[in-house]
Amino acid sequence: MKNNVIEVKDLYKSFGSLDVLKGVSLNLEKSENLVVLGKSGSGKSVLIKILSGLIKADSGKVRVLGYDLNNINRIEMQVLRQRIGFCFQSSALYDGMTIAENIAFPLKYAVKGMSDKEIMTKTHEMLEAVGLENKKNQMPAELSGGQKKRIGIARTLVTNPEIILYDEPTAGLDPITCVEINELISEVQDRFKTSAIIITHDLTCAKETGDRIAVLLNGVFKQTGSFDEIFNSNPSGEIKMFRDYNFIEKTQIAPKIELQNF
């Protein structure tokens, strides 16, 4: 219990009359990758936005790296956010800046005391890690969706966060890039002992990157456990549908899963 980097208890959130989260509880242990599965619109993005302080919860306990998000001041929030990485579903690259400037942005304006040279080296390192160093002077509008996604991940990782929140890192990518991203996520965990919450619809991604899977259904976590515990032990209802539509054996035939994701 001591080693939880994120602790959420009885979290509620609604927008107007729409109840999105209805008593979510979850723990994330240190250097654990937790995959969150759930239907579109089930509130997965809302959940991690609450964890990063972008949205305020209606009620419930949220602790991240020891900070109570219901009782946090601006300075503490700033410190906390430097230790969290958030990878947006939409990549959210700054379209007024070049790719290199995008990656350098958090280093330049959030991390204090880095020299221009260090920032350049680090940026270059990240670009290499995601295999796009030849794009560094291009604008985000000139990249494909998958390339944007990779730059988004690079920008998230550049500050060496302790917790990383990935919002559908592989959605809309071709199967080969998916595999690369999955490997990148696992590698980051191995190398830096980071903890991560990975939101996805993609069961291959879930299997490859997740130590533990949680299924968000109707505003609560229906089931948590290892991949096999959830999907190979006679699932029912929506979990079964999830499995059948994403059927794991089929993922070897790569293009299939692409089509099924849409």
Partner: protein, 262 residues
């Protein structure tokens, strides 16, 4: 972020909305004064904005200012000729330009060009989650985006207004020179004979307020853009309409105050 969550109507729906917007706008303005500090100012972005707002408006402002001065002189001539008072032309035109035209023309052009630009830029950043991305990377987007733009516009518009006055007077001089064959010395002497410190001072104060308004309204509209690409267009549109409206209110108010000192 609505002030009231329930759908209770106090006066009428549209008046309620107007009042709520007014209140939120004021909050936004107070936030500017609360968060502004020279030590946190991001100078590189501030200078970039001065360039975007100030320098890039020069061609349009030059053209408009020149034409305004020239045409205003041309059209005023017949009325003065009736009284045989064409020698008053420089003085009349200069008073009109310094007291009202230069700042007003500059502000309205800038509201159209700069205001819509800021509204659209921040609006698109808002709807594509770029502002949230800044926030989670521990960079204060209000400081990075709003404070730099508002400050740049508050400083640039007075300088542009001064420049407009200069260009408009040049246009007027050229017209007078070819019609009445007045030389520059005589023109300047006649023009500035009736212009005093109060005129200059109130013009400067107006220009500062106009610049502040354009930056503030543009940022407010963009920062609060509704989701979706439609929201971006609306934000740009709103920032022009609202800032021109507020500019006229300020104009009327400052003229009243100035005249009470005469």
């Amino acid at each position: 972020m609505p002030v009231k969550e329930n759908n209770e109507v106090f006066i009428s729906e549209s008046i309620d909305r107007l009042l709520i917007n007014f209140r939120l706008g004021l909050d936004f303005m107070f936030r500017f004064f609360g968060e502004f500090s020279f030590s946190n100012l991001i100078w590189s972005e501030f200078f970039n904005q001065c360039y975007q707002i100030g320098l890039k408006s020069l061609p349009l402002i030059s053209l408009t200012g020149f034409v305004t001065g020239m045409v205003f002189t041309q059209q005023s001539r017949p009325s003065l000729q009736e009284f045989g008072a064409t020698s008053w032309l420089p003085s009349l035109v200069a008073i009109a330009i310094v007291r009202a035209l230069a700042t007003l023309v500059t502000a309205i052009i800038a509201a159209g060009k700069v205001g819509s630009n800021i509204g659209a830029e921040l609006g698109s950043m808002k709807v594509t989650e770029q502002i949230e991305a800044m926030e989670v990377s521990a960079v204060n987007p209000f400081n990075y985006l709003v404070i730099t733009r508002v400050l740049a516009s508050t400083i640039s518009i007075p300088i542009l207004s001064f420049y407009t006055a200069f260009v408009a007077l040049s246009g007027s001089f050229i017209n007078v020179y070819f019609n009445e064959e007045t030389n520059l010395r005589a023109y300047l002497f006649a023009a500035f004979e009736n212009i005093n410190f109060l005129d200059m001072g109130s013009a400067l104060i107006k220009a500062i307020l106009f610049g502040f308004t354009i930056g503030m309204v543009g940022c407010y509209s963009g920062y609060n853009a509704e989701k979706g690409t439609l929201g971006v267009g609306k934000a740009a549109n709103k920032s022009v309409v609202k800032s021109i409206f507020i500019i006229f209110l300020i104009e009327i108010f400052v003229v009243q105050v100035t005249n009470s000192f005469r």
